[in-house]
């Protein structure tokens, strides 16, 4: 977190107006070396992990760009951006971004190009296939663009240098241009990547003609349409400048009845979208959405436990398992020991009760431990429960490693929810999600929610303020457990069976990533996180929209978690509160600046108060 400035040259004066800009080549070579080297290493690492070759199948722009290459070229772009990033400190003379930064980016890129260079030379001359499985001719082929070594080396040096330069240039561009560039780039990327979803939607709306033209036969956008989209997005970006922010601020500024009306409208709009959209989507998309919803339910529960109450429960998957198995035992005809074959509805009631009980049983002993121990203990519990469900010992009850199959469809009378009809599953999940969102939202703004937040802030003081911390934390645990168990019940009905391997610790961790990436304690953030992560990358075992990432998604989850913790712990969609919490200094500065408006009022108040105090002091009297 050092103040990042290019090394000031000895000739620059400190007067801002007439500062002679430092010489063009007077760059911070150490910085360039560091970031360039890191980029080179990253390119090599990602290549050897197999991402470029593995993702090459997916085309972004027909004939020009594949996901495999994209996986590599974003790196010099990013590092070029980082190299020239500077922290503008108040009162410190920082030269404006300019040619020097662009040059720095260029050099960084050039240095980064050494990565592919060394790799190409290496694969060509040595055979390290034995340990490194991806040290292969395919990788070489990809890196050299199908041509010879020299071409490959030159191409990469050039590409990295240019991209590095572009990354740095982002700093030089005025804010508006930057915004337009970002929107166009990301927009194009999204439209290309979401091909399956858009295709599906257009089929539903009868717009196949458009999508057939947009997308090439083998996938990816056609070049023609890429250009069209660039223009369209560019125009859109320019036209919507400031509108989004304006709208959000306007919404935040509304009060009372107006606010209520706006909220209701917003909510109704989203609800209509959620109900109507699945009708236009095909099976696969609905399956995906159902999956997203399922994990959203889990994430909302964990959000209460981790985000509100601050309890890191790594064994959260245990409740998921309990819900699933309870449902299976109660509803399936093949449940080994006890097969009452109840209707799903009745089973749900039992599930909630048992979940609450399990939450109490697991929670009561652990709730007093310090945070990190609690995390590991719950991890232990999670594993124990899974091992028990999988054991031969309990096979007569839970079916051992084979699990319990033949969980029946949910017969609601007016409709049947079965796993083979993803749309029905989605609607059922939607209902539960809405419930969960409602419960989370209400709890947040209530006495209990405040107590949870107080405990998260300072447990000892919360106790001193009259909050029974043990019971309150237990409450959070139990509510979270119930939501997870409901999720498990739905899973059992959806898939039609439960297996112990669906409930590994992996699930807990992925939900944790979703909650953190989305924003801890923030319902909207969790929703966004769910959509983006589970929807695009995929769940623990289910593929997402981008099936190519199956082998790499766990890697990305891990990297994402580390990145978020280091850079943006408040999540992608921070609640205003959380953002303040984690960037206190900046917020304080803002408040101080804003407070200048109130300063005059306050000064008058203080003066009046002081006079009063003086009078009191004299009044209460000095006996002496």
């Amino acid at each position: 977190m050092s103040a990042t400035m290019s090394a000031p040259s000895s000739t620059s004066s400190t007067s801002p107006a007439a500062s002679s800009a430092p010489a063009l080549f007077d760059l911070d070579w150490r910085r360039i070396g560091k970031w360039g080297g890191l980029c080179a290493f990253a390119i090599a690492l990602i290549s050897l992990i197999g991402m470029p070759v593995g993702l090459d199948r997916r085309t972004i722009i027909e004939g020009r760009l594949s996901l495999g290459y994209l996986a590599l070229i974003w790196l010099p772009l990013l590092f070029g951006y980082v190299v020239s990033k500077r922290v503008v400190l108040e009162g410190v003379d920082t030269p404006d971004p300019g040619a020097r930064d662009v040059l720095a980016g260029l050099c960084t890129g050039l240095l980064a190009g050494l990565g592919p260079l060394l790799l190409i030379l290496g694969i060509d001359n040595f055979n390290l296939r034995k340990p490194l499985v991806n040290w292969s001719p395919q990788l070489l082929e990809l890196l050299t663009f199908g041509r010879d070594i020299g071409y490959g080396i030159g191409a990469w040096l050039a590409i990295c240098a240019v991209l590095g330069m572009l990354g740095s240039t982002m700093h030089v561009l005025p804010k508006d241009v930057r915004r337009v560039v970002s929107i166009v780039t990301f927009g194009l990327l999204f439209i290309s990547v979401l091909e399956a979803a858009i295709d599906d939607l257009s089929e539903g709306f009868g717009l196949e003609g458009l999508t057939d033209a947009m997308y090439a036969k083998r996938g990816g956008l056609t070049v023609k349409y890429s250009i069209i989209l660039v223009v369209v997005l560019g125009v859109l970006a320019v036209v919507t400048k400031g509108r989004v922010k304006g709208a959000t601020n306007h919404y935040r500024g509304l009060k009372g009845a107006e606010r209520k009306r706006a909220s209701v409208l917003l909510f109704a709009g989203v609800a209509v979208l959620c109900i109507v959209l699945p009708m236009f989507l095909g099976k696969i998309m609905n399956e995906l959405l159902a999956n997203v919803g399922l994990f959203l339910l889990l994430a909302l529960g964990l959000n209460i436990v981790v985000g509100l109450a601050g309890i890191l429960d790594l064994g959260y998957v245990a409740f998921f398992a309990v819900g699933g198995y309870t449902t299976a035992v109660l509803t399936s005809a093949e449940s080994p020991f006890f097969a009452p074959e109840l209707h799903f509805g009745f089973a749900l009631i039992v599930v909630v009760l048992i979940a609450g009980l399990t939450g109490l049983v697991i929670g009561a002993p652990v709730i007093r431990m310090r945070g990190d121990y609690l995390a590991i203990v719950t991890l232990g519990f999670g594993e124990i429960i899974r091992l028990l469900f999988m054991s031969d010992w309990l096979k007569p009850y839970f079916g051992g490693a084979q699990g319990i199959t033949n969980v029946p469809h949910v017969d609601l009378g007016f409709a049947v929810v079965k796993g083979t009809d993803p749309r029905s599953v989605f609607y059922m999940i939607l209902v539960f999600c809405v419930l969960a969102i409602y419960v989370s939202w209400r709890l947040q703004g209530s006495r209990l929610g405040r107590a949870w937040m107080a405990i998260r802030e300072d447990e000892q003081v919360a106790e001193a303020m009259g909050i029974n911390t043990v019971n309150t934390k237990l409450m959070a645990f139990v509510v979270g457990a119930m939501m997870a168990a409901l999720s498990g019940a739905i899973l059992a009905a959806k898939v039609g069976s439960v297996f112990p391997n669906s409930f590994m610790i992996l699930v807990s961790i992925i939900i944790l990533v979703v909650v953190i990436v989305g924003g801890m304690g923030n319902i909207l953030g969790v929703m966004v996180g769910s959509f983006v992560l589970i929807g695009v990358l995929g769940g623990p075992r289910q593929p997402g929209l981008l099936q190519e990432f199956q082998s790499y998604k766990l890697l990305i989850y891990g990297a994402l978690l580390v990145f978020m913790m280091l850079q943006r712990p408040e999540g992608l969609v921070p609640s205003a509160r959380r953002s303040q919490e984690l960037h206190q200094e900046e917020f304080l500065q803002d408040v101080w600046l804003k407070g200048e408006d109130h300063e005059e009022e306050e000064a008058a108040e203080e003066a009046a108060a002081e006079e009063e105090a003086e009078a009191t002091a004299e009044g209460t009297g000095d006996p002496a």
Binding site: Y373, I376, D392, L555, L566
Partner: protein, 375 residues
């Protein structure tokens, strides 16, 4: 005035306390009954516990028992070596480095790659000892490097964050490394080459039949512990490490470069884990990218059992855990009629974890933490 206030449990017995006592009684009872059943089944064929006896159960001969004990000891020694890293990092920085298990796995992986190369070139068979020394050095190098990198990239920026944030970050690091290794080297199980006969053969020491490899494990673990003890107790660096573990701020006021000591701590812990990795590879001869996960958690358990921050305790805890893991399924659970006890081996370790954290979180030998971390 310290911001932390010492709080003992309330006098009034709450429902939770009653529940905990119930669990305690139940567990002690379970263990006692299990052991009684075991003894009875061994020595008195017609005994009241026969009705529980699982017809498939093998029972335990003296030799088998000794064999189990030896396995448990050697496995426990490895847990102990890994536990040292957890203990040291917790003692100094106050958080659990979830990714330490991956450091261990990296050592094992390095050993595999190196030994494969040596085997291919014939050096493995001709000069095994040289290879052994080389792979140990390489594993130590890689593990240490990984641990130090981890600290520098992921943990140092979070030095002043609330405690849970580094823990969550370490989970992310662990995940990342596991999957990066899988990506780089493939998901297939990797096997170490055959060990020379003179090492692997069974030997007889004091009526105990023990494989040579296990002896190697125990010897290497002992030597490493001795080296560590020497480092921590007798060298200046060790003294600095102890000072930093006690109170970072004061240590820096005394002129100790706290950052450098923290790096050293990670490095030493990483080195120990690297050695453990090689030993694991030699003993079990197979390694995958997930090899670090379970032993990592078990090693952390061992560290807590011995008392976190307490290095001797970590090793003792490791050995205790390894032995318990080996013996308990067959000695306690099986006599009670539980079938398929070998599956529950891991459950035993987790149960020990849960029990220790519930009932004696300060561990058997007491924790050594700074007051700020103790809160």
């Amino acid at each position: 005035m310290t911001a932390t206030i010492n709080r003992r449990s309330a006098r009034r017995v709450s429902k939770v306390d009653r529940f905990l006592t119930l669990i305690r009684v139940f567990l002690v009872g379970l263990i006692v009954v299990g052991i009684l059943a075991f003894l009875a089944q061994q020595f008195a064929p017609n005994n009241p516990f026969t009705r529980w006896r699982n017809p498939d159960a093998m029972g335990l001969s003296a030799d088998q028992f000794k064999g189990l004990l030896m396995s448990g000891l050697s496995q426990g020694a490895m847990y102990g070596l890994i536990a040292l890293g957890y203990s040291m990092v917790y003692g100094v920085l106050g958080f659990i480095n979830f990714a330490h298990g991956e450091v261990f796995m990296a050592g094992a992986m390095t050993g595999f790659i190196a030994s494969e190369k040596f085997n291919a070139s014939g050096l493995w068979e001709s000069n095994f000892l040289l290879c052994l020394v080389l792979i140990v050095l390489m594993a130590i190098g890689i593990s240490t490097l990984m641990a130090v990198l981890m600290e520098r990239v992921a943990y140092r920026p979070l030095r002043n964050s609330p405690r849970l944030i580094p823990l969550i970050t370490s989970i992310g690091v662990s995940f990342f490394i596991q999957n990066a290794v899988m990506g780089l080297f493939g998901p297939a199980t990797k096997s170490y080459p055959q060990l020379p006969e003179w090492l692997a053969k069974q030997r007889s020491i004091l009526t105990f039949e023990i494989a040579g490899t296990k002896i190697l494990v125990l010897v290497v673990a002992a030597v490493s512990m001795a080296g560590l003890w020497f480092l921590v107790e007798r060298t200046k660096t060790g003294k600095a490490m102890r000072a930093v573990a006690e109170d970072k701020e004061i240590a820096s006021l005394m002129g100790i470069n706290v950052n450098r000591i923290i790096v050293t701590t990670f490095a030493v812990g990483g080195a120990m884990a690297g050695v453990a990795g090689i030993l694991w590879g030699l003993l079990f001869r197979s390694v995958t990218h997930m090899t670090g996960f379970l032993p990592g958690i078990k090693a952390f358990t061992a560290a807590v059992v011995g008392g976190i921050g307490n290095l001797g305790g970590a090793m003792a805890g490791g050995i205790a855990l390894g032995s318990a893991e080996s013996i308990a399924p067959l000695v306690i659970l099986e006599p009670l009629g539980v079938p398929g006890v070998s599956q529950l081996k891991d459950a035993v370790a987790f149960t020990v974890l849960v029990l220790v954290l519930l009932f004696k979180p300060t561990g058997l030998f007491g924790e050594r933490l700074s007051s700020e971390d103790r809160a």
